[in-house]
């Protein structure tokens, strides 16, 4: 049996009058309106209901639609940008559905990893919503959120070595599109009904952590967190950073394991740090690669010198005068090969401060003079 949480409102009623009062509250984020149609009317095309979600991973882009027709219960699926398989079934049937899915896949030699059931989650079948309206609703939400989510964007860039600011808008579109199917438009918050934008803002808070887990794997993110904490605890007691063997001891792992884990993170960081600094052509990339990498390569003295002069001019002639933090951040990040998080730890500032400092200096570089 489907428990509908939020049905369409065909006629004016006391609830609608209350909505009108709530929407006048200046503390509330606005309802989105597409072509004169309120977000609620658009999303009501697919009423939200309580469901159980079966969630798993399969190799080679397995499409869960294939399994739906053979299940003995009503089921829905939807593609998420993370590539994981999700099937929703009516509340109370999640565990039975998981067993059927595993059996179905086993009979066809399709691997199923880590199948788990999440019971009693809100779900709406967005396939029922006019796709044009839905796409424009998601786009309107991203247009509204993108300029207002500066801290989330900075966290993504600072914490995730492979994410650049220019990637975030399209990532945000996918994220909003993904999480729309679990938006419960009947949920009440302190300021009344939680509208679509308010819901998305709440989801954005954990987005950087979710992406970090997706990018590095849950273990790598946890490793990095434990490492940071161990270094901080050690530094407080000893007034210096731990050496390799001390750190391995603190983390209760061998030095070999420690090196292997650090290599994973450094490799990921290296991919980012070898990227062009200010959108210059690919040939300039090698200027930013540390000397260990360019040993033996022919050196382009002239280009190195021009670039250095441009960077120093940018760091020296800031609006508030010389900007040593800007130069230090840029130097540690691009020449010493540190991730922004590492540079932040070495400078004893927040990663976002390093990001801001690098952006400040690179933004002032006269790229025209570098060609």
């Amino acid at each position: 049996m489907i428990t509908v949480l939020d049905g369409p409102d065909a006629t004016p009623n006391p609830s609608q009058k209350r909505d009108a009062r709530e929407e006048e509250d200046p503390r509330r984020v606005p309802n989105l309106v597409i072509d004169g149609i309120d977000e609620r009317a658009i999303l009501d095309q697919a009423p939200v209901f309580l469901a159980d979600r079966v969630h798993w991973e399969s190799p080679d882009g397995f499409n869960p639609t294939r399994v739906l027709f053979d299940l003995t219960m009503n089921a829905w699926t939807r593609h998420w940008s993370d590539g994981q398989c999700r099937v929703w079934v009516e509340s109370g049937q999640g565990h039975a559905a998981r067993e059927e899915i595993k059996r179905w896949c086993a009979q066809r030699d399709i691997e199923v990893f880590n199948a788990r059931v999440e019971a009693g989650v809100p779900f709406r079948d967005l396939a029922l919503v006019d796709p044009d309206l839905l796409g424009r609703l998601v786009a309107a939400a991203v247009d509204w959120l993108f300029p207002r989510m500066g801290s989330v964007r900075r966290r993504l860039v600072a914490d995730l070595d492979l994410v650049e600011d220019q990637d975030i808008r399209s990532m945000m579109f996918l994220f909003v599109s993904d999480v729309t199917d679990r938006y419960d438009s009947g949920r009440e918050g302190r300021l009344g009904r939680v509208n679509y934008l308010a819901y998305l803002i709440g989801k954005m808070r954990t987005w950087p952590q979710d992406l970090a887990r997706a990018a590095y794997g849950r273990n790598a993110v946890a490793d990095r967190q434990r490492r940071i904490q161990a270094v901080e605890v050690f530094a407080v007691g000893n007034h210096r950073a731990p050496n390799e063997s001390e750190l391995a001891g603190l983390l209760n792992i061998t030095v070999t394991d420690l090196r292997a884990r650090e290599e994973t993170l450094t490799t990921l960081s290296g991919l980012r740090n070898s990227a062009a600094l200010i959108g210059l052509d690919a040939e300039v990339d090698r200027v930013f690669v540390a000397d260990a990498v360019t040993e033996g390569a022919s050196l382009d003295y002239d280009r190195d010198a021009v670039l250095t002069r441009a960077i120093l001019a940018a760091a020296h002639q800031g609006p508030k005068g010389p900007d040593p933090l800007g130069l230090a951040s840029l130097y540690l990040t691009y020449w010493e090969g540190m991730s922004r998080a590492d540079a932040a730890r070495h400078l004893q500032v927040l990663p976002k401060t390093v990001t801001a400092a690098v952006t400040r200096v690179t933004g002032r570089i006269d790229a025209a003079g570098l060609d």
Binding site: D291, D304, G321, P322, W335, Q348
Partner: protein, 144 residues
């Protein structure tokens, strides 16, 4: 994967110094005038920590890597006066020594031949100017 970190600063101390590496690529033709200019800039900014961190012959040139201190961590982060002066000195060096194609580079690792050569030269000569001049002569090649 890079080897042991050549980090120029020691974390966990606000009094650690932040240094940047600057490579000067001297040719026999440019060397004398350039070294004199460098010595003059260093004399103009006595409060700025500048040391010779690496010396290495590469083809027809000799690379000098200067480690230029931007100041202590606290000063760099707060854009204190000492750091501003250091950055100005660095800017002056880069602008005045264009003849040597100055370029930011990673600091040489302490165990590298480049760094060992620099240490040996500095130990035997007074100041960077003399050490650099010596490096340009056959003296460099007698350094173990």
């Amino acid at each position: 994967m890079r080897g042991p970190s050549p980090l120029p600063i020691t974390p966990a101390s606000m009094h650690s110094t932040v240094e940047v590496g600057l490579r000067l690529a001297a040719t026999p033709a440019s060397s004398t005038q350039a070294v004199a200019t460098l010595a003059a800039i260093i004399a103009e900014h006595p409060g700025v920590g500048i040391r010779l961190a690496g010396v290495e012959p590469v083809g027809s040139r000799v690379h000098f890597t200067l480690a230029i201190a931007l100041g202590c961590l606290e000063d760099v982060v707060s854009a204190g006066m000492a750091s501003r002066v250091a950055l100005t000195a660095l800017h002056d060096i880069v602008e005045s020594l264009r003849i040597l194609d100055p370029a930011l580079v990673a600091m040489p690792r302490p165990e590298s031949i480049e760094a060992q050569s620099a240490r040996a030269l500095v130990a035997r000569h007074r100041g960077i100017g003399e050490a650099a001049l010596a490096a340009l002569s056959e003296d460099l090649f007698s350094v173990g």
